[in-house]
């Protein structure tokens, strides 16, 4: 489904124009919430890597905006369920939105957590270097997942989901490297733990970006590919609709 398809075939064909508008609205609001979360994540990683406490502070104090958007979208979805009793692809869209905003809100929480830890770093620390690469990778995943959601593009969703393999392996590398450091210089443990927790948060963000990709497959194909292998997900996503 490309950009035109979702515009043309999905949001404009209901007999009820208002229903078209409501669905279009929740879809586009997910993207604006996604944009905010992307910014929070970018700021949190930058704050951590570049030791910018004012940016870290901004991330921590801005999380409420993400939470507020989640609550509002949740209410809009509830209203659609009550008023429209959506079925088929309409129902799948509303469910995909409800699930996506939950994951986005949790990504926002992870960004806030990273921001709080960044406040502990008062000077540049070489231990944070690997965070930069993992942070960049999961930011790319989140961006790709939101892009797939915007266009309801299953092929992109599958590609982005598979990038989670790399996020997981990067995370493992970071953890083992830091364990080495902690064993050799115990005085570095408190700082190293912050970096481990940051890496952990980023790894979880990768998982959540993958979840969003799975909701895209659910919406487009009607297949629930959660808790399946990447191969299975790719097969379901690219195969016939049924």
């Amino acid at each position: 489904m490309n950009d035109d398809d979702i515009e043309q075939s999905f949001f404009k064909q209901h007999i009820s124009q208002r229903f078209n508008t409501e669905l279009e609205e929740i879809h586009s609001r997910v993207l604006s919430m996604g944009g905010l979360v992307e910014q929070q994540l970018a700021d949190a990683v930058t704050a951590m890597v570049e030791t910018r406490s004012e940016l870290a502070e901004k991330v921590v104090t801005s999380d409420y905006k993400v939470n507020a958007q989640e609550v509002e979208l949740d209410e809009e979805c509830t209203e659609i369920l009550v008023r429209r009793q959506p079925t088929a692809s309409d129902l799948r869209l509303v469910l995909a939105v409800i699930k996506t905003i939950t994951d986005l809100e949790r990504i926002g929480d992870e960004a806030e957590r990273i921001g709080r830890m960044a406040l502990h770093f008062l000077e540049l620390d070489r231990q944070t270097a690997p965070i930069s690469e993992l942070g960049e990778h999961v930011r790319g995943m989140l961006h790709g997942a939101l892009d797939a959601f915007a266009r309801m593009d299953v092929e992109q969703a599958v590609r982005v989901a598979q990038q989670d393999i790399h996020a997981d392996s990067q995370y493992e590398v970071i953890v083992y490297r830091l364990m080495d450091q902690m064993m050799s210089s115990p005085e570095a443990i408190p700082r190293a733990m912050d970096v481990v927790w940051t890496a952990r948060s980023l790894e979880r963000i990768g998982d959540r970006a993958r979840n969003i990709c799975e909701y895209v497959v659910y919406f487009v194909r009607g297949k629930n590919v959660r808790h399946t292998s990447y191969e299975q997900m790719a097969e379901e996503a690219t195969g016939d609709r049924h």
């Binding site: 692809s89 309409d90 996020a167 995370y171 481990v196 979840n211 009607g222």
Partner: protein, 317 residues
């Protein structure tokens, strides 16, 4: 202290083991069917989603499908020159609820009326094809239509009790069919029928009151009790709750749910949420054809045909 691991969350587990029952039944399109083929919705043998066994085990397993009660093969129907049903093929399972949905004039009520030959009453109707009830052709030369209609009861949109007492509404048909004699035996049959229809408690002390004095919802349950009294196999319901308020509608739906274990129920409804609530299987009719027939869940969450999707989501077809 345990180090956090990348695969801590189940979202990352790539289990490939048990097969879940997701995936829906094969398409059952009236116009594409082969005679003798099984037209019941079937649990999918093919594309499913594999999951780790502990997750797959928690998924609802597809229950075995009941045997076919009504087997329709290539049914065509004309009102004079106008064809109203086109090559309809459906296998309707026994002792469960099947809903027929579709826009006005799509042929769903016409089809329903074929099952107990109600269309015989319209002189210009011509029918071609096979409609088997327990493997006996309903349109066969030896079929006694009165007997047929005692086996295939019908409930209409508007409650239509006889202008007689509540008791007589129930007793009338069993008496004609010789199912019960007067007195205690008939009393028992009346009580049983009213109990099955969930009406006994409300009317047991006023059985001699006219049936027409009951509320709309009660009248409809009286009509269901009247249908049950002759011990039918199949109950056809043509929009049974469309003239009722939400509470009476919920009562009728609850009753349908209770009756499903003993009767084959086929219900025509314009209310799609009602079909979704009461029916295990749903057939979508459009312009006299069966477009799609499948598990109700599949029809309402992931229909195969665009025409079904357009109809149930309220899009321009």
């Amino acid at each position: 202290m345990r180090m956090p691991q990348p695969n801590d969350n189940p979202g990352n587990s790539g289990g490939v083991a048990a097969r879940s029952s997701l995936g829906g039944a094969e398409l059952r399109e009236g116009s594409d069917t082969v005679e003798g083929e099984d037209h019941r919705p079937q649990p999918a043998a093919a594309p499913g989603v594999t999951r780790a066994p502990e997750i797959a085990a928690g998924h609802d397993a597809e229950e075995p499908t009941h045997p076919t009660k009504v087997d329709v093969r290539g049914l065509n129907l004309w009102y004079g020159e106008t064809q109203a049903l086109f090559d309809v093929s459906l296998r309707i399972p026994e002792k469960d609820v099947t809903a027929l949905i579709g826009p006005s004039g799509c042929g769903k009520s016409t089809f329903l009326r074929c099952i107990n030959r109600m269309n015989d009453l319209i002189p210009s109707v011509a029918i071609q094809g096979q409609l088997l009830l327990d493997e006996t052709d309903v349109y066969g030369p030896d079929v006694d239509v009165v007997q047929l209609r005692s086996r295939v009861g019908m409930v209409f949109q508007k409650p239509n009790p006889f202008p007689k007492s509540i008791y007589e509404n129930i007793a009338y048909a069993p008496r004609i069919h010789g199912l019960a004699k007067k007195g205690a035996e008939m009393d028992e049959l009346v009580e049983t029928s009213l109990r099955k229809a969930g009406l006994w408690k409300e009317v047991s002390d006023r059985l001699s009151m006219p049936g027409t004095a009951l509320s709309g919802g009660q009248q409809q349950r009286l009509c269901i009790a009247r249908a049950i009294a002759v011990n039918p196999d199949v109950i056809l319901m043509d929009e049974p709750a469309s003239a009722l308020d939400p509470v009476a509608t919920a009562t009728i739906e609850e009753l349908i749910d209770e009756l499903r274990s003993n009767y084959t129920i086929i219900i025509v409804t314009h209310n799609m949420q009602q079909a979704a609530r009461v029916a295990r299987y749903t057939a979508f009719f459009h312009l006299g054809e069966v477009i799609e027939y499948d598990d109700t869940d599949t029809i309402f969450t992931n229909p195969r045909q665009k025409r079904t999707e357009d109809y149930i989501t309220g899009r321009f077809g």
